[in-house]
Amino acid sequence: MARVAVHDRRDSVGVAIEDIRTGDEVEAVYIIDKFVIGRIKALGDIPLGHKIALKDIGAGEKIIKYGRPIGVATRDIKAGEHVHTHNLKSIRWGALERR
């Protein structure tokens, strides 16, 4: 089974450690002790290194990785969806875009 790595138990996203295809059942693994957090169905292709939502995330909600906010969801994201520039943006430097 394909796996995604999770840095911190608070994280709302995991990272694909191999290429994942739409419909694949993937296992989310906590990197420190290899504890299996759960299973999730990929709703899109997730290339190696890209992020997958581990739970439903509402538009405007902070996305958590390393136990810390890495930005904010720009639209509703379903568990299993690819998370990247199309639905996540910086809280810090993303603001500059709006000037």
């Binding site: 990272v15 191999e18 992020k51 990785k65 990247h84 943006k89 810090r92 430097w93 500059l96 875009e97």
Partner: protein
């Protein structure tokens, strides 16, 4: 690994000032762009000489000029350098760079092109360079405890595999080097964004912490004041291709390579990094060659460089050990990769095993094994320029 009394031992070069190098170069330093031709001419004639051409050095002023002198002198003073030749269009500035090197007690000669022309300058300087190369060829590596030596770290073309595996494994090595009493420099001021408070929290000394905050706010404030859209620049196209979405995610991945030790040293562009400084923040640009160039000017003799998508940066005078955890990069760009820790990413090995692999490789490099950057001639020398010239 050689271990004496529980301490790793390397074979390095002890310089007249007691500093330890792991290479034994003769460098030809052009003070300015106009002197590049003569510097390269000398390197062409004399085997074993390294010229470090760059585009700057004319009509710079103030802090920007001070930084150029700091970088040129510091590079010549680096413990990996046996001796240096300085070439400038004018005598005064050439002497000023040489004065910054001569303090280390190593041989330095300065020459000016004005009044002599390129050809005469090349001839006089090449004769000196020949003597220096022959002298340097007799310098011996000696057994030295792995302590009180200066290193540096940086990541580039990062992706999420950096934050997951290659950076934490490098952090393991950083902890080990710091525990042994070595100095490890890190920088990338702007790319700490999103994790800057974590870095600040690891600086125990209040004054140093305040200095860090001032440096950080000034740097990032400058970027933000430009009012430009940074998307496409931070994160870079390569970062985004590798799955990194925001500067915060990049910053949090970046600091995974800092290990777990307290940060005991904070220096700005022009400050020296004292030996024995421990884990040291150096204000640098986040551009790979600029950062490595500044670390070398401050004394780093070996650099650990992690990459995800495959940054190829090197330096003319120090080995840059290239580490990746991205299995695609390890295969598609194998000639650039020294240490592959993709099995850590794939959860097949633990952090300590991957970290020890990097550490042991770094020891071999300290003892003389050439890195991919050295063999592939990745000789990037890129002084940071702060603002326009007059």
């Amino acid at each position: 690994m050689d271990v004496v009394g529980g301490r790793p031992v390397i074979r390095g070069y002890v310089r007249p000032d007691g500093s330890v190098g792991v290479r034994n170069h003769i460098v030809v330093i052009p003070v300015d762009d106009l002197s590049n031709t003569a510097a390269l001419g000398i390197a062409k004639l004399i085997r074993g000489v390294v010229a470090i051409p760059h585009p700057y050095g004319r009509l710079q002023f103030g802090k920007d000029l001070d930084l150029l002198f700091h970088i040129l002198s510091g590079t010549g003073a680096n413990p990996n350098v046996y001796g240096a030749i300085v070439i400038g269009i004018e005598e005064n500035w050439a002497n000023r760079v040489a004065d910054g090197i001569v303090k280390t007690g190593k041989p330095v000669y300065a020459f000016a092109i004005e009044g002599n022309g390129d050809l005469r300058t090349i001839e006089i300087a090449a004769r000196k360079a020949k003597e220096l190369v022959q002298e340097a060829s007799e310098a011996q590596r000696t057994e030295i405890d792995l302590t009180n030596i200066m290193f540096s770290i940086k990541c580039g073309e990062s992706d999420t595999t950096s934050g997951l595996a290659s950076n934490p494994a490098t952090g393991y090595v950083v902890d080990k080097l710091v525990d042994l009493g070595n100095t490890v420099m890190f920088g990338e001021t702007s790319e700490l964004t999103g994790a800057e408070d974590v870095v600040a929290g690891r600086i125990g000394d209040e004054k140093l912490r305040e200095k860090f905050w001032n440096i950080y706010h000034e740097y990032v404030g400058f970027i933000e004041d430009q009012g430009v859209n940074l998307l496409g620049s931070q994160p870079t196209e390569g970062n985004i291709k590798g799955g990194l979405t925001t500067i915060e995610e990049k910053g949090l991945g970046n600091i995974q390579k800092l290990g777990t030790k307290p940060i005991t040293c904070v220096v700005d562009y022009l400050d020296p990094v004292p030996r024995g400084a421990g884990l040291c923040f150096v204000n640098t640009s986040s551009a790979a060659a600029e950062a490595v160039t500044l670390f070398v000017a401050k004394g780093s003799v070996l650099h650990l460089f992690t990459t995800g998508q495959g940054n190829v940066v090197g330096h003319p005078l120090i080995p840059v050990v290239k580490i990746t955890a991205n299995p695609k990069t390890a295969t598609s760009m194998s000639e650039h990769i020294d240490v592959d820790v993709s099995d850590l990413l794939e959860l097949k090995v633990g952090l300590a095993e991957a970290g020890e692999r990097i550490f042991n490789y770094a020891l071999r490099v300290m003892n003389g094994r050439l890195t991919s950057t050295e063999v592939l001639q990745h000789d990037e020398f890129s002084p940071i320029k702060l603002y326009i010239s007059s």
